[in-house]
């Protein structure tokens, strides 16, 4: 059995709350444990001693000291009735501050001096304080505006950048479209030029052929008139001439619509 169990059993015994099981344990413990038995015996002796305890007679003592008027709570008016000494000291302190009293120690003794410019000192202090406060307020305002400006600049830079990107994209698109259009025009001009050149060439060749036909006709006329009879010329040379004459002299060189073919 642990000490805790012993203490619990002993407490139950003192409270007269032992049940039958605990009573058996209690009796067994009293026989087995000398210390426990001694504690039980001591408790019984203390019980009897408490009933028959004899103490010296009560001395005469001053009961009046135990009865006293309790402090009543301070009324409101009592707070205003401050001691005159405290008020006087406060007034002196105020006066000393306002007049600039200064206590100085030296080898010759102690000197109490009053500054003439006490008011000036107060004014200087006030001015200094005001300056500090103004500087502090200005600093705060400056910081605030600085932060606000930085924010505005940042937003402006972002907007500008976005606008530039958009403009660049539009410009690129425009350049691509215009260059494509220009190329288209250029090719059309080129084709037109080539077609004109071809027409000129055809005209040139047609004139050449015409001139050649005329020369041949002239040669043929001259030759038949000088060297050949008309019959011969009709049967032989004229046959060739006829062949020559069958060639259309002024017929332009036809093409299958080159303009349209080139355009296509």
């Amino acid at each position: 059995m642990t000490l805790y169990d012993k203490e619990a059993l002993f407490s139950a015994y003192l409270d007269n709350s032992l049940d039958s099981e605990q009573e058996k344990q209690f009796n067994a413990l009293c026989e087995a444990d000398a210390e426990f038995a001694q504690a039980v015996e001591n408790s019984a002796r203390l019980n009897s001693a408490s009933a028959s305890f004899v103490a010296p007679a009560l001395p005469q003592w001053d009961k009046e000291q135990t009865f006293f008027k309790k402090d009543e709570p301070r009324s409101l008016s009592s707070w205003f009735s401050l001691p005159a000494c405290a008020m006087a000291m406060s007034a002196c302190a105020l006066l000393a501050v306002l007049t600039g009293a200064k206590l100085s120690y030296s080898d010759n003794g102690v000197a109490l001096t009053f500054s003439n410019n006490g008011a000036n000192t107060v004014d200087k202090m006030v001015e200094q304080r005001v300056t500090q406060e103004v500087a502090k307020a200005l600093g705060e305002q400056r910081d605030f505006y600085q932060q606000a400006n930085q924010t505005l600049f940042k937003e402006y830079a972002q907007a500008l950048s976005a606008q530039q990107q958009q403009s660049s994209a539009e410009l690129t698109k425009y350049l691509l479209a215009s260059s494509r259009e220009e190329r288209k025009h250029d090719f059309a001009e080129l084709i037109k030029f080539i077609n004109e050149q071809r027409i000129d060439d055809q005209r040139f060749y047609a004139r050449q052929f015409t001139r050649l036909q005329d020369e041949i006709d002239d040669i043929e006329i001259g030759y038949s008139a000088v060297n050949l009879p008309n019959s011969l010329s009709d049967s032989g040379v004229n046959g060739r001439a006829t062949n020559y004459s069958t060639v259309p002299s002024t017929q332009p060189y036809t093409t299958n619509n080159p303009q349209s073919s080139l355009d296509d």
């Binding site: 408790s43 019980n47 103490a55």
Partner: protein
């Protein structure tokens, strides 16, 4: 003649009734004096302690709300004042474990006006630490339950039981 209840006397004393207060004192002054003798071991300290207790009780009378018995509240204050007395006399000692009596010299009044067993009991109790002594006092002379003792001394019930068992085991030699 009916006795007025403690709570009623307290109420009257709070209203400034001196007679009610003295009636209350007369009910408990002997118990407090004997408490002082057993706790301090001599009649002079017991008388001082008793006076301190009643002054303290009167000062704190408004704090008594009647939630427990007046006697229990009185013993709680008495225990606090007793600890205060020990602290004044032995400031560098652990209060619960301090064993030395407040006054080393024998008390002549106890020799003259007390019987042998009471003297032996008082002397034996002075060998106990203050914490154990208070538990023995409250249990056997105040007749409080362990719960009340624990509440008065601000300890647990198990601690109160443990202290009492340890005290009785220690008292065995002195009382024999």
């Amino acid at each position: 003649m009916f006795k007025k209840r403690d709570e009623k006397l307290v109420e009257q004393a709070l209203q400034g009734n001196k007679k009610a207060w003295f009636t209350l004192i007369s009910r408990y002054e002997t118990a407090m004096y004997q408490y002082g003798i057993r706790m301090t071991g001599n009649s002079h300290d017991a008388a001082d302690l008793m006076q301190e207790i009643f002054i303290s009780v009167f000062r704190s009378l408004a704090c008594f709300k009647g939630e427990g018995s007046f006697k229990s509240w009185l013993y709680r204050i008495a225990h606090c004042r007793c600890i205060e007395l020990y602290r004044k006399r032995k400031p560098h000692s652990d209060i619960d474990d301090i064993q030395a009596p407040l006054c080393g010299a024998p008390c002549p009044e106890m020799q003259l006006y007390s019987d042998r067993e009471s003297r032996a009991l008082t002397q034996a109790m002075q060998t106990l630490p203050l914490g154990q002594k208070a538990v023995v006092e409250l249990k056997f002379f105040g007749h409080f339950t362990f719960e009340e003792i624990a509440q008065q001394m601000d300890i647990s019930v198990n601690t109160a039981k443990s202290r009492l068992y340890a005290a009785l085991a220690k008292l065995k030699l002195e009382l024999e």
